[in-house]
């Protein structure tokens, strides 16, 4: 990014080509992505993404905060899947601490994580379809997304920046009526997915805009560091929830949708099927939700119950100490990865034994996925660039951090 020097500079390679600047203010770049294109007529010769416009130095800020104060920073990275980021961060800190989490908290996390995936995929589907020209789908998707956001508001008091997961469990017991509402939603949502599919999957215009467009082979996808549906759309069968389970995902049954074609349509199909699988996981979580505490019994790390804090001196002291001094984490380092709606979200945390993390690095899925854009678009038509950007499902907040 630049406020003075125009960077990066792309020089036309031949006389017949020209440079086209797309973004940072462009309706299909989902935030502030600038794409530099060298075009020969309608054909893209070279493509170069330029990022950094949303860089706020979150990793640096984390180093100046206590471990528990980092949680609200993590949702602001990716505002479409806040819970996934919360989850990844708290799992990493818990791994550093060697903390055991009660089963109920783990299942709640899975439940909310899948709702987050639904939320994120709905925004993706709506905007992706809108980019390509199918305006109606957007309205349908946001109708259901609103319901998911209301459920987030019920548990966390916030629609988007939830910060609901805490080191050692979750912040609060979900309120009365929450599970019924989720069950309701899980009941009618598969029908709604059919509605979206009716609008798109067999639609000849949609097929012409997506089939065979922005093709990428499995070898390229692996070499470029793609993950998530971008990788699975090229036929590589990996999903961290199934292959390296965390937070009791091993207790759930679900399929991992994989498509072999490697085009925009394949990635679309992967995500739509993931929506269905996510509803299945939500239902399993509701049916099997264990009884017990929603946070670990670890005084000094987990905030005490409000009631106890007001009546017992011990709890009051712990509360005061956690808030004012934080808690020390044994020295060491961990890399924790989770399957976010966009791919492998990883947190690498280094602790030096104090109450503040020495280094927090976020491995963002979109950051790596964005590199595949040149591979997908070079040699193809300019109009397909928009379809390709949508099919990677980028969130610039996560890319720039």
């Amino acid at each position: 990014m630049a406020h003075m020097t125009p960077t990066p500079v792309l020089e036309p390679g031949q006389d017949r080509t020209m440079i086209l600047n797309m973004g940072p203010q462009h309706p299909s770049t989902h935030g502030v992505l600038r794409v530099l294109l060298e075009i020969d007529g309608e054909t893209v010769v070279r493509l170069m993404p330029d990022i950094g416009f949303l860089h706020t130095g979150i990793e640096k800020t984390c180093e100046a905060k206590f471990y528990q104060q980092v949680v609200p920073l993590t949702d602001r990275i990716d505002y479409l899947c806040p819970m996934t980021n919360n989850l990844c961060y708290v799992l990493a800190v818990e791994k550093l601490l060697g903390l055991e989490i009660p089963e109920k908290a783990q299942w709640l996390r899975v439940l909310l994580n899948e709702l987050t995936r639904i939320n994120s995929h709905l925004v993706w589907l709506g905007t992706h379809a809108m980019d390509i020209g199918a305006l109606t789908v957007f309205l349908y998707c946001f109708r259901e997304r609103e319901e998911v956001l209301k459920m987030f508001e019920m548990v966390a008091g916030q629609r988007m920046m939830t910060s609901y997961f805490r080191v050692g469990g979750v912040a609060l017991e979900p309120p009365l009526g929450f599970f019924d509402r989720v069950r309701d939603f899980a009941g009618y949502f598969p029908e709604r997915i059919d509605q979206y599919e009716n609008l798109l999957t067999g639609n000849p215009i949609w097929l012409m805009r997506t089939k065979g467009v922005a093709h990428m082979t499995a070898e390229d996808a692996i070499a470029l560091g793609a993950t998530g549906p971008t990788l699975r759309g090229s036929g590589v069968d990996i999903d961290l929830r199934r292959d390296m389970p965390y937070s009791s995902y091993e207790k759930f049954q679900f399929k991992v949708p994989v498509s072999q074609e490697g085009d925009v349509f394949a990635r679309y199909m992967c995500r739509v099927q993931e929506l269905r699988e996510s509803v299945g996981i939500v239902r399993q979580a509701l049916d099997g939700m264990p009884e017990g505490r929603y946070k670990a019994d670890a005084p000094g790390i987990v905030l005490p119950d409000r009631e106890k804090m007001k009546t017992q001196m011990e709890s009051l002291i712990y509360h005061f100490k956690i808030i004012t001094e934080g808690f020390n984490v044994p020295a060491g380092e961990v890399y924790q990865a989770v399957e976010s709606p966009r791919g492998e979200m990883g947190y690498y945390i280094v602790s030096d034994g104090t109450a503040k993390p020495y280094r927090v690095h976020m491995r963002s899925a979109c950051f790596a996925n964005l590199q595949t854009l040149s591979k997908m678009c070079e040699g193809r038509l300019l109009a397909d660039v928009v379809a390709a950007i949508g099919s990677i499902d980028i969130v610039l907040g996560e890319i720039d951090r």
């Binding site: 990066p8 950094g52 055991e100 692996i222 060491g332 492998e344 491995r363 964005l370």
Partner: protein
């Protein structure tokens, strides 16, 4: 809440496919190992990094064919100051390994991995931008997150959180 102590003895860990592969190739390329919290770290000698990665990628028993992440840790004011951290993943075997290279503070430079994984491009640019580590052989080593005319490398520990005033 008991943490098992870290294992740093290479003899106990030589069964691990990544260590077995690297010791069979060149034992002196490994500067140290650590197995802590179920995660394996291999300290690799600076000059051997690129070849070690190429070997691990092609390993027939357990190919670490996916580069998850590249980042860096600044241990200012200690020397060697920088640790460049590579996270590799084996998609067929679902195994992870962490490679680390230590670098001194005087003009830190390292070989680029872009010839092995083109996806290393953005990650190396980010490390260059925020830590000032140069990757030789990188096709386009320019700032990626900060403005082109920015001074300093913000993620270094001697760079104040509020920035220079």
């Amino acid at each position: 809440m008991a943490l098992a102590p870290a294992i740093t003895d290479i003899e106990q860990l030589k069964e691990h496919p990544a260590i077995a592969r690297l010791t069979a190739w060149n034992a002196s390329a490994i500067e140290g190992v650590k197995f802590d919290r179920d995660e394996l770290t291999i300290y690799v000698e600076r000059g051997a990094l690129r070849e070690a990665c190429a070997l691990l990628r092609e390993d027939s028993a357990c190919p670490f064919n996916f580069l998850s992440d590249i980042t860096c840790v600044d241990w200012y004011p200690q020397e060697p100051r920088f640790e460049v951290v590579y996270h590799l993943l084996s998609i067929p075997k679902k195994e992870r390994v962490r490679l680390k290279v230590r670098l001194n503070s005087g003009s830190p430079a390292l070989e680029s991995l872009t010839s092995i994984w083109p996806g290393a491009n953005f990650f190396e640019r980010e490390v260059f931008d925020l830590f000032g580590i140069r990757f030789t052989g990188h096709p386009y080593l320019r700032r990626i997150l900060m403005p082109e005319d920015w001074e300093g490398h913000p993620m270094r520990k001697d760079y104040p959180v509020e920035g220079y005033r």
